[in-house]
Amino acid sequence: MIATETVKELPTPTPVPEPLSPERIDYLEGLIRRSRTAAAVFSQFTQQEVDCIVKPMVLRGLEQAQHLARLAVEETRLGVLEDKVIKNMVATEFAYNYVKDKRTVGVIREFRDRNLAEIAEPIGVLFSLLPITNPTSTVLFKCIIAIKTRNAVIFSPHPRSWRCCHEAIEIMYQAALRHGAPEGVFSCVESPTLADNAYIMKHKAVGLIDATGGPGVVKAAYSSGKPALGVGPGNTPVYLEKSADLNAAVVDIIISKTFDNGTICASEQTVVIDDEIYDAVVKKFEELGAYICNERETHLLEKTVIDPQTGFMQPMAVGQKAIDIARFVGLPVKPDTKLIVAPIRGVGREHPLSVEKLFPVLAVYRAKTADEALRICVDVNYAGGLGHTAVIFSRNDEVIRKFGVAINTGRIIVNSPGAIGALGGVYNDLVPTFSFGCGTGGGNSTTDNVNIYHYLNIKRLARRTQNHMWFRVPNQIYFNMNAVENLRQFPSQCTVIVTNPALEQMGHVDIVRRHLCPKTHIHVSIIPDAEPEPQVIQQGVEALNFYKADQIIALGGGSIIDAAKIMKLKYESPDADLGELAAPFLDLRKRVVEYPSGKPAKARLIAIPTTSGTGSEVTPFAVLTDKDRGCKVTLADYSLTPEVAIVDPQFVMSMPKGLTADTGIDCLTHAFEAGVSNYASPYTDSNAMQAIRLVFKYLPIAYEKPEDEEARSMMHNAACIAAMAFSNASVGVNHALAHAFGARFHVSHGRANALMLPHVIAYNAAVPAKFMPSPYTQGYVAHKKYATVADLLGLGGQTVEEKVALLIVATEKLLDRLELPRSIAALGISRDEFEKAVPEMTEIAFNDPSWRSNPRMPLISELTELFWKAYEGRGAFRIVPSPETQAV
């Protein structure tokens, strides 16, 4: 029989709710208060207590499945009794099977390797709108997941399914209550109206709206301003592809489309059939009890079951039997007709049957090509079914994948009935549900099958992770006088020595040459410029390729060694893009660019430093000067670190005094900055502290008595040791300032560092205006580490503050002894000129990655202040007392 009442789930203009009477408001407030109290009581329940309630509820639901199905059919006059029984059983048994072992109280999941845990927090009070098409099954399902998640629910059934829903709610409530659930955990609004729903939806005590119903209900829920789960409308396209098992496909479609007379919104609506199999498929439908319409009948049918004004299905047809619809239309069907199949020639308003039809009428379309079939499926998908469900029958995995990519639905059901497949757990491993999330396409917040996790606030407990740290240095470091002799142990067919003209003239190249294996073919690559440039690198790489070098010896200061590092990189990975590799990064392990890896090394890199400062022989850094772009490019990766470092003081015995002082202070700055860096570790601390001790002891001697072999040797070692520290702990704000200032005023790197150093120590030792976020450090310790250095140097002092002050004085005395300028002003730079340069220098310093590991995050104003302190020089700094004044 054809239903004559209006199904209000269909799209209708949003009615304006009548105002509520004071009595009605009292009634609704009472319901809400009761639910809120129940939720408060429930919040104290344990997992075990909850699980003890759920199971008997499920058993009771199974027991009452037939009773409730009968009530639903009688009241709604929609669907099929037998199918509604199955729906009720799926809603209980399958839902239980999914939830029974899931934790929903307290810690529900732990990810030990990630130091993460998920903790469940109930939502509290849910407001649940119930549909007419699947009334009792939806109640059973929602009650079970609500209890499992310790929530109270206020239900508002559709007026035409109120009695059966109320009965289902009462059955579930009594079962839950008997097994310990809080009083008032479920309630049902008596004679609900739109005004009632609007009032409850907006009530502050309601945490979430779960709206299962038509578009009007879903829209009202989402418009309430409350978090809502809403089910969008469907229009399921089916692609019956030529490789499919036709018999199985047609049976599955009939099962699904006739299940509960097609009331499940995931059921098939339009089947797009490949041309090659179209006739066979249609014949199969006919054989299995479908009536196939001719063109005239299709036209008659569409005029009857689709509203010509709205273009949507006629409510009177929803959930009715095929035979009743056929008789109403006047189709000459057999009494056992299960399904009416109507061929259509397109999708859209000109083809009315291409929309959602929640009754056993199925549109079919003959597609000439596979591409056309996919396009038509997408058209059906976009004609009211976005986000919902789609179905494909095919044995071709590639076609299935392509369909999955093309279609925008939350569920794409493969080789199984759409309606029952989408419910989950029966034909596939989808999560069992009676609420289909339809994503943004359907105006929903999720594409999931709504389940227990949507009824919980899931909190993430994120424990602090102990990040792995590292200490990476060349695995072979040879040091002390004549360490160069160790070259002999490295066999080589062809060695290229990278050096500069001065060192060659000084005879250093000859010394190296003498200690190479006798049969080694040796080529010397002279780099005329002080700093490596792309063109020089290219020439060097050409030489390496020409000689097929298996060993590179970098003999020189930092620039020469850096050049050799880059040559090796380009020699082994010609495609490496130096510009890209120099991209900035925050965390070495998470940076965007990847250095070439996995390639076999073509050449061994041996670094022999001829200055005692940069420590490039053990660092993973290389600086390239790009004169065309007017900038320096810093490369940083452990793959750049030389394989062997030879720290032989004979190559630094003739260093000029000025260079000795500048490079020595560069070394000291490396050690200080690595020592207080946020990346400092016990491994780097030991190196940093030792380097500082060596510099304070031997740098003045090396400066004043250049011929002192011990002092030269110890300073050479200090530079290498400090470099090992900063290779792994990085540097800090001192370097950022020095880079900017040195580049602007052409002051050597070591001298620029020296001008900043006392001020930076004072700055880092004070309480930061802004702490630097760092997962590697616990608390602020920079001032204590400076105090430890003071102790190591035997400077005296009782409190941390005193020790820091003494360290600064000792540093200043060292700078004085090295006859280094103690202020920028002393370099002859005028105040006006400096003042003009400060804004740009500040900007450059702030963009310098060096300070990222500094213990104190520099504010831009602080960088400016530090520049001015360096300009003024001695006595310009002032230590801000730390709150911790205790002795170390």
């Binding site: 109290t37 129940a38 408060a40 009581v41 919040s43 104290q44 809080p182 009083e183």
Partner: protein, 90 residues
């Protein structure tokens, strides 16, 4: 606090104790300490009784201090919105 009356609440006896408290506190000073340290769970009736007692205390200008309340219980009170009607001490 030194002169305030202290009433120990036993698990399961909340409602009767609050009723008793109503009787006695009508004639006592302006502060009452309800010791909840032995209470681990509160049901709907208990929550209603506490809400009711809060109203009573407000009318009588009686300051009610809940002592030793467990956090789960405190949260349940928070959920029904009555925590601002009591003071809490450990």
């Amino acid at each position: 606090m030194g002169t305030a009356a202290v009433l120990a609440i036993e698990e399961g006896a909340l409602i009767s104790r609050l009723e008793n408290a109503k009787q006695s506190s009508q004639t006592t000073s302006g502060e009452l300490i309800l010791d909840f340290s032995a209470v681990h769970r509160i049901d709907a009736a208990g929550l209603h009784a506490l809400e009711d007692f809060a109203r009573f205390a407000r009318d009588k200008r009686l300051k009610v201090i809940l002592r030793g309340i467990h956090v789960d219980l405190y949260k349940a009170l928070k959920l029904i919105g009555v925590t601002d009607q009591f003071s809490f001490v450990d």
